[in-house]
C-alpha cells in the first residue's frame, strides 16, 4: 500500500469514527442499582472517601518525589516472599542489587517504576539490576514471572542465564529452570530475545525456548504441530546440530500459520538450504509486493524486515481477532 492509499484509509477511519453513535442505551435499566447505592451511603462515607483520596495523593506524591532512587514498590501476594533474607510483610521496596525470592507457595508483585508490573510466581529468584527512567532491568535466575509493560520499546529488559528478553511493548510469561534454560510465551505485543549475535523476535501468540550456551531457539506459534516443534528443538539445540534433516522436517510440517518460524529459519539455515526455506515460506505466505527473492536470499535487511512486518501483522490479526473473525493465515484478511 502506498502513502496515498494509507492517507485515504486513515481518512476513512477518522470518518467512520466520527459517525459512531454518541449514545448507546444500556442493555438493562441501571437505575435500580444506582438508587440502591445512593440510598445506603451515609454522610460519613463521603468523609471516608475524602480521607482515602488524601491518602492516595500523599502516597502518589511520595512515589513521584522519591522516584526510582529507592527502587521499586513490591507487594506480597501470597505466602512468604523474601527480599534477600528479610521476609516481605505486606509491601516493601526492591532496591537495585536486591533479590526477591519466592518459595513454592509464595507470590509477589513488583511495580516496574511507572511503566508496568511484574508478577513473581512461586519458586522464583528475581534481582533488580537497574531502576532508572531510561532503564528498567531485572535478572531472573530461576522461576517464573509474568510481565506487563506499557512503555516505548526497549525500556524494560529481563536477563536470564541463556538470553535477554527485551520488551517491545507487551505482556509475557518467562520461565527459567534450574539449568538456566528458559521458555517465553508472549500474550501481547512482542519480545526480542537476544544472546550474543543470535536474535529471535517472538510476537503475540508465539513462544520460544532458550538454552544455556546456545541462546534463543527459533520461535514458534502456540498451536504449532508437534513434529515441527520437535524438529526445531533438534535444529536449535541438538548436540552437533540437527542440521539439514531437522530443517527439512520443519519445512514439511510447516503450515501458513508457522510463517514466524520459517522467517527466522531463512537466516539460520545453511546457505544450501536457504532457498528451500524461502520458497516454502513464500508458498505458504506470499511476500508483500516488491519483495525480491534474490535480495531475501542475500539476507538483505530491509527486504527481510518488510517481509517480517507482513508476517507479524498477519500473526497479530490472527491472534487478536480469534473468535471474532476467521482470518486467512496466508494473507491476514478475513475469509
Amino acid at each position: 500500500m502506498n502513502d496515498r492509499e494509507h492517507e485515504a484509509e486513515f481518512a476513512r477511519l477518522l470518518e467512520e469514527t466520527r459517525r459512531l453513535p454518541r449514545s448507546i442505551e444500556p442493555p438493562r435499566d441501571l437505575w435500580p442499582g444506582i438508587a440502591a447505592r445512593i440510598r445506603r451511603r451515609p454522610a460519613w462515607r463521603r468523609w471516608a472517601a475524602l480521607a482515602a483520596a488524601a491518602a492516595v495523593v500523599l502516597i502518589v506524591g511520595r512515589r513521584i518525589l522519591i522516584g526510582s532512587s529507592e527502587g521499586w514498590a513490591v507487594a506480597r501476594v501470597d505466602g512468604a516472599p523474601r527480599i534477600g533474607r528479610t521476609a516481605l510483610v505486606g509491601t516493601g521496596r526492591l532496591r537495585v542489587g536486591q533479590v526477591i525470592v519466592t518459595d513454592d507457595s509464595s507470590r509477589a508483585e513488583v511495580q516496574v517504576g511507572l511503566i508496568g508490573r511484574v508478577e513473581v510466581l512461586p519458586g522464583s529468584e528475581l534481582r533488580l539490576v537497574a531502576a532508572r527512567p531510561d532503564a528498567h532491568r531485572l535478572a531472573l535466575a530461576r522461576g517464573t514471572i509474568y510481565a506487563e509493560v506499557t512503555a516505548p520499546p526497549r525500556l524494560f529488559v529481563v536477563e536470564t542465564p541463556s538470553a535477554t528478553a527485551v520488551d517491545l511493548g507487551c505482556a509475557y510469561t518467562l520461565e527459567v529452570d534450574s539449568t538456566g534454560a528458559s521458555r517465553l510465551r508472549v500474550t501481547a505485543g512482542y519480545v526480542e530475545l537476544v544472546w550474543g549475535d543470535r536474535r529471535s523476535i517472538v510476537p503475540l501468540g508465539a513462544m520460544a525456548v532458550t538454552r544455556a550456551g546456545a541462546g534463543p531457539g527459533t520461535p514458534f506459534v502456540e498451536d504449532a504441530p508437534g513434529a515441527l516443534r520437535d524438529a526445531l528443538t533438534a535444529f536449535d539445540f541438538a548436540r552437533g546440530g540437527g542440521g539439514a534433516p531437522a530443517a527439512r522436517t520443519v519445512l514439511r510440517a510447516a503450515r501458513a500459520e508457522d510463517a514466524v518460524t520459517l522467517w527466522h529459519l531463512v537466516s539460520r539455515v545453511d546457505l544450501s538450504l536457504r532457498a528451500a526455506v524461502y520458497d516454502r515460506l513464500a508458498a505458504l505466505v506470499p511476500p508483500p509486493s516488491g519483495t525480491s527473492r534474490d535480495a531475501a536470499l542475500r539476507l538483505d535487511a530491509p527486504t527481510l524486515e518488510r517481509y517480517w512486518q507482513h508476517i507479524r501483522r498477519i500473526q497479530w490479526r490472527r491472534e487478536i481477532l480469534k473468535g471474532i473473525r476467521n482470518i486467512d493465515p496466508r494473507t491476514g484478511r478475513t475469509r
Binding site: 486513515f10 453513535p21 449514545s23 448507546i24 444500556p26 441501571l30 438508587a35 445512593i38 505482556a171 471474532i324
Partner: protein
C-alpha cells in the same frame, strides 16, 4: 418540563427524582463512553453505575462552570480510568472474547454492513491504553494535554498511544 439547571439544583438538594431525570437524559451517553473505554459490556454497566453514584456524591461540588453533561462526562472518564489502574495492579489483562458481542446493545439502528460493527469491535479489541487514548481523542474530542492529565501519562505517551491505536485499527479493518 423543568430546565437542566433546575433539575441539577433539585438533585443537589437531595431530590432523587430529579437525579433520576438526569440519569435518564445522560445514561446512554455515559454508557457509550464506558463501553468504548472498557471494551466490555458488563464492565461498562458497572462503571456507568459507579459514575452516577459518584456524581450523586459530588453533586454539591458542581457549580455550573461547565454544562452538567460535560462535568458528568469527565467524572465518568475518571471513574473508568481509576478503576482500570486499580485493577491492572491486581489482574492480568484480559482481551475481550468477542468485540462484536460487546456492542449487541448499541442503539441507533442496525449497523452499516461491515462498517460500524467492525470499527466498534476493533476498538474493543485494542490494548487498554491505546483504546483509552483513541476513544478520548478521536471519539470524545479531548486534547492530548487533557488525556495526559486524566490518564496520568506524558503528552508524548498519549500521542504515541493514539498513533499505535490508529495503526492497529487500520490493520484490523483493512
Amino acid at each position: 418540563m423543568p430546565d437542566l439547571t433546575d433539575r441539577v439544583r433539585r438533585a443537589q438538594d437531595g431530590d432523587e427524582t430529579a437525579f433520576r431525570e438526569l440519569y435518564d437524559e445522560h445514561a446512554g451517553r455515559i454508557y457509550a463512553l464506558c463501553l468504548r473505554l472498557t471494551g466490555d459490556a458488563a464492565a461498562a454497566q458497572e462503571r456507568t453505575q459507579d459514575a452516577f453514584v459518584r456524581a450523586w456524591e459530588r453533586l454539591r461540588s458542581f457549580r455550573g462552570d461547565s454544562a452538567f453533561g460535560t462535568w458528568l462526562h469527565r467524572l465518568a472518564v475518571n471513574v473508568v480510568l481509576m478503576e482500570r489502574r486499580g485493577r491492572s495492579r491486581r489482574e492480568r489483562r484480559v482481551t475481550p472474547a468477542s468485540g462484536e458481542a460487546v456492542f449487541e446493545g448499541a442503539s441507533g439502528g442496525p449497523p452499516a454492513p461491515g462498517e460500524r460493527l467492525d470499527l466498534e469491535g476493533a476498538i474493543a479489541a485494542l490494548p487498554a491504553g491505546a483504546r483509552e487514548v483513541f476513544v478520548l481523542f478521536d471519539v470524545e474530542g479531548y486534547s492530548h494535554e487533557e488525556i495526559a492529565g486524566m490518564c496520568g501519562i506524558a503528552v508524548g505517551t498519549s500521542k504515541a498511544q493514539l498513533f499505535r491505536a490508529r495503526r492497529l485499527l487500520r490493520g484490523m479493518l483493512e
